[in-house]
């Protein structure tokens, strides 16, 4: 009972401490200066129709690099904690086969979902979506096949190759921006093209595709390590 009372006390303390944070949020009527600069200069400077994309990939590109690094470290942690012990006997316990309807449906749907994921990250500078969303959609396609074919295994060589290559090329394009354009991860190393078309916005589609492959393969890695039953 004393514990409950103490918890309540701590919670009330938190509410009083954090209340100014919430009560200071006023309903805004116009953009603040930084956002106004991004909205005003973004389309002409970077050529990307989706302003969220231009903020993520270029204006705050270094932050995104940090986030991808955090994602990599978390995946490595998951894989390390669930690593397969060499000495333990592999006992492939017999799992129940999934039904024929499910297998046929999966075989039909998985390529379509993959295609949808690729569409999302290629059109990240035109429509809502981008590398992170596309990566998540690809990961859910792999999850669908993992669920409906219980005996299936992810090919770790290909997965690791995609992971490392996309990360390395991401850094490489960033350094190229340092040479050929104004700074690290600048997208103007390629011509900007026509505003609103697929091949526009400089290097943004390339960078976002690499982010999408990176995020997708990391999430597939997490799901695969969680799915293995013999840890």
């Amino acid at each position: 009972m004393v514990k409950r009372f103490l918890i309540l006390l701590v919670l009330i303390f938190f509410v009083i401490m954090l209340m100014p944070l919430v009560s200071d949020i006023q309903p805004q009527t116009e953009l603040n200066p930084l956002a106004e600069k991004y909205v005003k200069d973004g389309p002409d400077e970077l050529g990307s129709a989706n302003l969220v994309t231009s903020v993520i990939v270029t204006y705050r590109g270094l932050d995104t690099l940090g986030e991808v690094a955090v994602l990599f470290i978390a995946t490595a942690g998951v894989g390390f904690m669930l690593r397969r012990r060499k000495d333990s006997k592999l006992n492939p316990q017999k799992k129940r086969e999934s039904s024929e309807i499910l297998q046929t449906g999966t075989a039909l749907l998985t390529p379509l979902i993959f295609l949808f994921g690729i569409y999302i990250f290629l059109h990240g500078h035109l429509t809502p979506g981008g590398g992170f969303q596309g990566g998540v959609v690809i990961a859910s396609a792999v999850l669908l096949s993992l669920l409906s074919y219980p005996q299936a295994e992810v090919n770790h060589k290909i997965l690791n190759a995609i992971k490392s290559l996309s990360g390395a090329f991401y850094i490489l394009i960033g350094v190229l921006g340092l040479y050929l354009a104004a700074g690290f991860l600048d997208n103007r190393i390629l011509p900007l093209g026509d505003f609103g078309h697929l091949f526009s916005a400089g290097a943004i589609p390339v960078i976002y595709s690499l982010i999408g492959l990176k995020v997708g393969s990391e999430l597939v890695g997490i799901l695969d390590s969680m799915q293995r039953s013999d840890s």
Partner: protein, 113 residues
């Protein structure tokens, strides 16, 4: 055209309402899943068709066709997988049911092996 689309949409929403009613009224998991799948699939299809007819000038009919195709693929498959899993972990059928074809099928398969 708009009125006709509205009528189709209304019929679709009636099917959705019936599906929701079926989920409340049916006796066991499998019957509820039946109501929640068949009625809602038809209801959603009619709803989308109604939108396509009512907004015919926006040329979104191809997008709606793709949506309908995806719903036809995914909705029955997912509910099939759910019902099969529920049968596997042994959720009982209602007392009124007459036959259990999946159990017969599986016992036959085990007997053959």
């Amino acid at each position: 055209m708009a009125v006709f689309g509205g009528i189709v949409t209304l019929i679709g929403s009636v099917f959705l309402l019936l599906g929701a009613l079926g989920i409340v009224r049916m006796p066991d998991v499998y019957n509820r899943m039946q109501a929640g799948t068949k009625a809602t699939t038809l209801g959603t299809l009619l709803f989308l068709t109604g939108i396509a007819i009512g907004q015919i000038e926006c040329m979104c009919i191809f997008r709606i066709l793709i949506l309908i195709l995806f719903i036809i693929f995914t909705n029955p498959i997912s509910s099939h997988a759910l019902a099969r899993a529920a049968h596997h972990i042994g959720i009982p059928l209602t007392d009124k049911s007459v036959t259990d074809a999946l159990a017969d099928d599986e016992s036959e398969k085990e007997g053959a092996v």
